[in-house]
């Protein structure tokens, strides 16, 4: 395989607080290859956003501590000066955020906000940047783009604003587009539109996409590879097929059990994962998921390593043997469907 476009190596992010150190990201390694879509899944507080915000060096909290490397085109982003990282932000790697309602500056016209980014990275005249902005707005499906470029964010709906954000993010042809829960704040009908827009732009521009989400449905639709995060660590990682058809970690099973699938018989009730994620200040000894796991045994007191137990490239951090996993998996995901079988 070619060298990865973006290589996160053992990234650790911790925040100093009055009550102690919060380990938000605890040794995450991820690779993103050209043209692929990588899904990062996990519940709130699992560290998925913090990981990617750290890649962009967007965490300005003076109490944050970083460790590890992020290699992009042969350079370590973590060691860069502010000026160096600025030339990459928005040009090489760009990001769209969860809430389009608040992510655009309310006092500037949307066209101007896109032009601002283009002119920051390229030496083009204002009219040229303007034409590009209008082109981009057209490409993301905004009707009458030339006129609408002179409108303010509050004159757009949420879905349209997210389209503007996407136009802005791809305005300098980035290699990597990080989408941080891009559809969470939108109506379900708009979600599908935004996702297919990202897909289309990915094909047109050849951009690699990192899609952060808590929605297994979204990654099923979009991602080539998926990493599942829990309490600041990756607990399972593999291709989309592997994650959905051969999941290895009980937490992944829990996530899969909590969504309704159209390609399987419908359960009467969806199963929920019992309990809450552990506090990042006092992680339990051993497996962080242990306390919520139905298949816990003695070895879980040792921290499980992320290893390719199920095959090359399919990593998981669970001590259960492959056989044990196969035996208990279906029962964990959809207990009643299994029971009903003769």
């Amino acid at each position: 395989m070619a060298d990865p476009l973006l290589d996160i190596r053992n990234l650790k992010v911790a925040f100093r607080t009055d009550d102690g150190l919060v380990r938000a990201v605890d040794g995450v390694s991820l690779s993103l290859y050209e043209g692929e879509t990588l899904g990062i899944v996990g519940e709130s507080g699992s560290g998925k956003s913090v990981t990617m915000m750290s890649v962009m060096r967007l965490i300005t909290d003076p109490n944050a501590q970083f460790d590890g490397e992020v290699i992009y085109k042969g350079t370590n982003l973590m060691g860069m000066s502010q000026d160096q990282i600025r030339s990459i932000r928005g040009a090489g790697i760009s990001m769209i955020f969860q809430d389009p309602m608040t992510s655009l500056n309310p006092v500037y016209k949307v066209g101007w906000q896109i032009e601002e980014q283009i002119r920051e990275h390229e030496h083009v005249s204002r009219p040229a940047a303007r034409d590009r902005a209008v082109e981009l707005l057209t490409a993301v499906g905004i009707p009458n783009a030339r006129e609408r470029a002179d409108a303010y964010p509050h004159q757009f709906s949420g879905g349209m604003r997210q389209r503007v954000m996407i136009a802005m993010a791809v305005s300098c042809n980035p290699d990597v587009l990080i989408a941080d829960e891009p559809t969470t704040a939108l109506d379900v009908t708009i979600q599908a539109q935004i996702l297919s827009l990202i897909k289309k732009l990915k094909q047109d521009f050849g951009t690699a996409v990192v899609l952060i989400t808590h929605d297994m449905g979204v990654v099923a639709d979009m991602a080539d590879r998926i990493a599942v995060m829990y309490a600041g660590r990756i607990i399972e990682q593999g291709t989309q097929r592997e994650l959905f058809y051969d999941p290895q970690h009980p937490y992944t099973w829990g996530l899969l059990g909590s969504i309704a699938r159209l390609d399987r018989p419908r359960p009467r009730r969806l199963t929920a994962i019992p309990g809450l994620p552990p506090s990042l200040m006092q992680l339990p000894v051993g497996c962080a998921f242990g306390e919520r796991c139905a298949h816990r045994f003695e070895r879980c007191r040792e921290t499980p390593l992320l290893l390719d137990r199920a095959g090359p490239g399919h990593l998981d951090a669970c001590h259960l043997s492959a056989q044990q996993k196969q035996d208990v998996r279906d029962r964990t995901i959809h207990p009643e469907l299994v029971e009903e079988r003769p």
Binding site: T60, S87, G90, F97, T102, S103, N105, Q117, Y152, M165
Partner: protein, 322 residues
């Protein structure tokens, strides 16, 4: 927009009417107030008192008195002061206005520039020692009384050092710009500084807090994610949005000062502006002057309020009437 302006103007008239009524009746309901007694000399006979009273129109019903006063202020403009029968009140205010305007405009420029510099610097240097130092300075400015700062300034520039370092400072008082631009300027330097110190402190603190709040907004993160420089993020995105709060505060304070609110500074530096006039009128319980000054002040406050609303629409597209 036109209906907005018309509605605004009508509202202004109502507000000013209410203010005049309140001031007028408070004056006559205040115990111990009798302008006739003040004018009639020492131990006046009841006869003299009654005469003076009739002369001033104080023996007529309050409503008539109110109407007459309004007529003299707005229509005939020949309202006469109670304490100095030769003095027409309206021309007196117009004569005093340039001094006040000079004082307040100059101070406003200083306080805007200094408050923005200090507020932005403190917000930018947050987490370092400069931030608390700047904010303590602002707090000192905020809590130092104007009359004290003014007196200290006078003591230094008019007293001990007047023959050496501060020989360029003219004696207390106001020189009109048309008489001597140089004296106008040199005479106002210390009044400007004195008046602006309080506002610098206040505005710097408000601006810093506002900037820090806006820095956590999503769109500021977006601006950073676009690859903009910290400087550009701060000036074009954070500061630009803070101006909405800043301008609305400024409009109100500025209006109040132009309307005679700079009393202390004017009195300490002997600047015969509207504030000084108010101070004299209050000492003599000179109702006509008080009334005229209050109307004048209210006019400026309301005017500035309207300007703030317009500036608001200009600064914040979300409140622009469609």
């Amino acid at each position: 927009m036109l209906t907005f302006i018309i509605r605004r103007t009508l509202w202004t008239v109502v507000v000013m009417f209410v203010i005049t009524v309140v001031v007028f009746f408070i004056f006559f309901k205040t115990p111990g107030v009798d302008p006739a007694r003040a004018l009639a000399g020492r131990n006046p006979s009841p006869q003299t008192l009654a005469e003076v009273r009739a002369q001033l129109g104080l023996n007529r019903p309050l409503l008539v008195q109110y109407g007459l006063m309004m007529k003299r202020i707005f229509i005939t403009r020949n309202l006469v002061s109670y304490s100095d029968q030769g003095q027409l009140v309206i021309p007196e205010i117009f004569a005093a206005a340039p001094a006040t305007l000079s004082l307040v405009f100059g101070a406003a420029i200083i306080w805007i520039v200094m408050a923005i510099v200090m507020g932005v610097a403190a917000a930018r240097l947050r987490g370092r020692i400069y931030d608390p130092i700047l904010m303590i300075l602002a707090l000192i400015g905020l809590s130092a009384p104007v009359f004290w700062i003014g007196q200290v300034a006078n003591l230094i520039t008019q007293g001990g050092l007047h023959n050496s370092v501060f020989s360029w400072v003219p004696p207390l008082g106001y020189t009109s710009f048309t008489v001597s631009p140089l004296h106008w300027f040199t005479g106002l330097v210390f009044p400007w500084i004195t008046l602006s110190i309080l506002y610098i402190g206040f505005y710097a603190r408000v601006l810093r807090a506002n900037l820090l709040e806006i820095q956590t907004e999503d769109y500021v993160r977006t601006a950073r994610a676009k690859g903009l420089s910290e400087r550009r993020v701060l000036l074009r995105h954070t500061l630009r949005t803070s101006m909405i709060t800043f301008v609305s505060l400024f409009g109100l304070d500025f209006g109040a000062l132009v309307g005679g609110g700079a009393i202390l500074t004017e009195v300490v530096f002997g600047i015969h502006g509207v504030g000084f006039l108010t101070w004299q009128a209050l000492q003599n319980l000179d109702l006509p002057t008080i009334m005229a000054v209050v109307i004048y002040g209210a006019f400026f406050i309301v005017l500035m309020n309207a300007l703030v609303d317009i500036a608001y629409a200009w600064l914040d597209p979300r409140v622009r009437p469609a």
